[in-house]
């Protein structure tokens, strides 16, 4: 039976009263990631918004074990957890590394790449809010072209996002997925699937950020829906090389077409200073990626 809101487990690992901003999609994503892993997990997390969510000593807002690790070391910390568990013969636990885009695309890429090359047996989730939101919204390798941030304050970012999913796929790992916090059942299913696979599994989770992207708290889900509908993000998974579109992206590919990316951009204050040329460039990137997806898809 397909998972839906009615039959999805009621067991929660996220406790009420955490420190995230209202409307935080990381909180939503994390809630469903932990559900999917049924609490049989050890988490490692670098400095990030999730550190904020986890709370301050001596109280934590989650009912799962976790070690906080310095910014650059998430992939290595996960490796250590896996190695330690293996050395001690503990087999019933999934290791989950979860980092923001800064901790994945930028400072964390070396340790992650090393771990993926070694085919370490853990799930790495990158929750991507497209900037250093925890430190007040500075640009990262994932901040989009034209977006205003603390370190691109006037003109907006002048470079495009790094394609981290392609980079991870190039490592030849058994499972790569693109999900969105705003599509929680799709995310849940992807984590469930990842749980059953051995080796390094990478799940990219799009996490719209109301204060950082400058939209209102209640619009978090709408922003994710718009992102999918315009092709700003594509929901897919690559399992042993086989590419499948999932959820709303699959529906768009089956019937319908992408809406103009402008519709997505115009909803967010961070794109207030974007130029027409930049919008065109972003639209071209979106079109090119969508075409690549349609060329590769195996489930239509």
């Amino acid at each position: 039976m397909k998972t839906n809101a009615v039959n999805l487990t009621e067991k929660e690992y996220l406790l009420p009263g955490n420190r995230t901003c209202p409307g935080c999609s990381l909180s939503l994503a994390y809630r469903h990631i932990l559900k999917a892993l049924e609490g049989q997990v050890i988490v490692t997390v670098p400095a990030s918004c999730l550190t904020v969510l986890h709370g301050m000593y001596p109280v934590t807002s989650v009912d799962v074990p976790c070690v906080n690790t310095p910014f650059a070391s998430t992939g290595a910390s996960a490796t250590g957890l896996v190695a330690g568990l293996k050395a001690l013969g503990r087999k019933d636990v999934t290791v989950l590394a979860i980092a923001g885009d800064g901790g994945t695309y930028d400072i964390g890429i070396q340790a992650l790449s090393g771990a993926a090359e070694r085919q370490e047996d853990f799930i790495f989730v990158c929750y991507d809010n497209e900037g250093y939101m925890n430190t007040g919204n500075q640009r990262s390798g994932s901040t989009p072209l034209g977006a205003i941030s603390g370190t691109t304050p006037m003109l907006g970012k002048q470079q495009n996002q790094k394609d981290m999913l392609a980079i991870m796929e190039a490592h030849g790992i058994p499972y790569v997925a693109a999900a969105s916090a705003t599509h929680p059942l799709d995310l849940y299913e992807k984590v469930r699937k990842a749980k059953t696979i051995k080796g390094t599994r990478f799940i990219h989770v799009f996490t719209p950020c109301p204060p950082g992207w400058r939209f209102s708290f209640g619009d978090t889900i709408r922003m994710g829906e718009l992102a999918v509908q315009t092709g700003w993000i594509v929901l897919y998974e690559v399992e042993d090389g086989a590419f499948r579109l999932t959820s709303a992206s699959e529906s768009i590919a089956r019937k319908g077409s992408l809406r103009p990316v402008r519709e997505y951009l115009m909803e967010q204050g961070r794109f207030n200073n974007i130029t027409e040329e930049q919008i065109s460039e972003l639209q071209e990137r979106v079109n090119a990626r969508w075409k690549r997806c349609l060329d590769r898809v195996t489930n239509l």
Partner: protein
Amino acid sequence: MINKKLDRKADIQILDGNHAAALGAKLSRVQVIAAYPITPQSPVTESLSEFVEGGDLHAEYIAVESEHSAMAVCTSASLVGARTFTATSSHGLAYMHEMLHWVAGTRLPVVLACVNRAIGAPWNVQNDQQDSISQRDTGWIQIYARNNQEILDSVIQAYKIAESVYVPVMVCYDGYILSHTEMPVDVPSQGDVDRFLPPYKPHAILDPANPRNYNLVTLANPRVNADGILCHGYMEIRYLLQEALQKSRETIINVGQEFGKLFARSYANMFWEDRLDDAEIVIVAMGSLAMEATVAVDMLREEGHRVGVLSLRVFRPFPKDYLIEALSKARLIVVFDKNISYGSEGATCSEIKSALYGNRINAVIRNFIVGLGGRDVKAREIADAVRKSLPSLEEGGPNIEYPEWICHM
């Protein structure tokens, strides 16, 4: 005194320092090893890989992509309850710097073999002690070996110390001088090491059945937990680390004595003494340099000088109280440092000065910076430096504020 419980007689093997370190880790039954190659440490990691691949050591060997990652692997593996080991040198240790703090702050008994090597720029792969001395404030215990026997013995003792006081231990030994020089090493049997070193009992463990979250943001002031218990602030956690290092001095000595009883090689003090009983001149050195200094003492004694050597075995915690008696009769202390705190002096010299302060020891202290980047330090040069310092003993003799360098400048 040979303990009757010993499995068998001495097993003398000809080992270089790196193999002695690797063997020490193997005999300690390490469970997770993570390391990255760097000269002159690389043979340690190669030996351990061989032990693991050959099935002689049941451990996970992780060939990480950096030293930062090596220490991150050790941290997390230690937190799920595994005994962990790594080894590095120089830039590798510098690259680990952040993680060294993290391990000590989490109170994880990781053991690291540091093969002492100079730090760039400019590039240099030879020996000095700038690398480990630069990490003295990270909250690690630092033990320095004078020879390969001490390397092996110190690694085994390091686990016992670290797992008793929950402070990580760095076993330091001189690159090439020890790491690549073969000498006879008495290798204890596995059974005897097992008798000495019990399995690792973690103070903290990651377990879904009892979820705990380690190293969250911690406020300056104490905060109440969910059960209403007032827990520490950041400062109390730091205080506890300092307290642990202070108290570890007793543990280090006890472990050294216990080791001595079992293996007939006592490590009952935090420093080694050579002819200090009647010495009015004391040479202070650390690591293999101390062996060279004993040769210098032979020369100087022949000239009628009452000279001895105090060789520091443990640099952190610094054995302040313990040194006072050993230095109480000294009139001149000549400190040789294979490191320099730029703008000040050698680190050992500063420590000795600080230890003597307020203890009514009015010895003159001279400091020589030697052997940086592998510059050979000959016994003759040590003796010359002591002779050069003798005028400081005379009334109104020179009091040199800054260290002197034994180099061509």
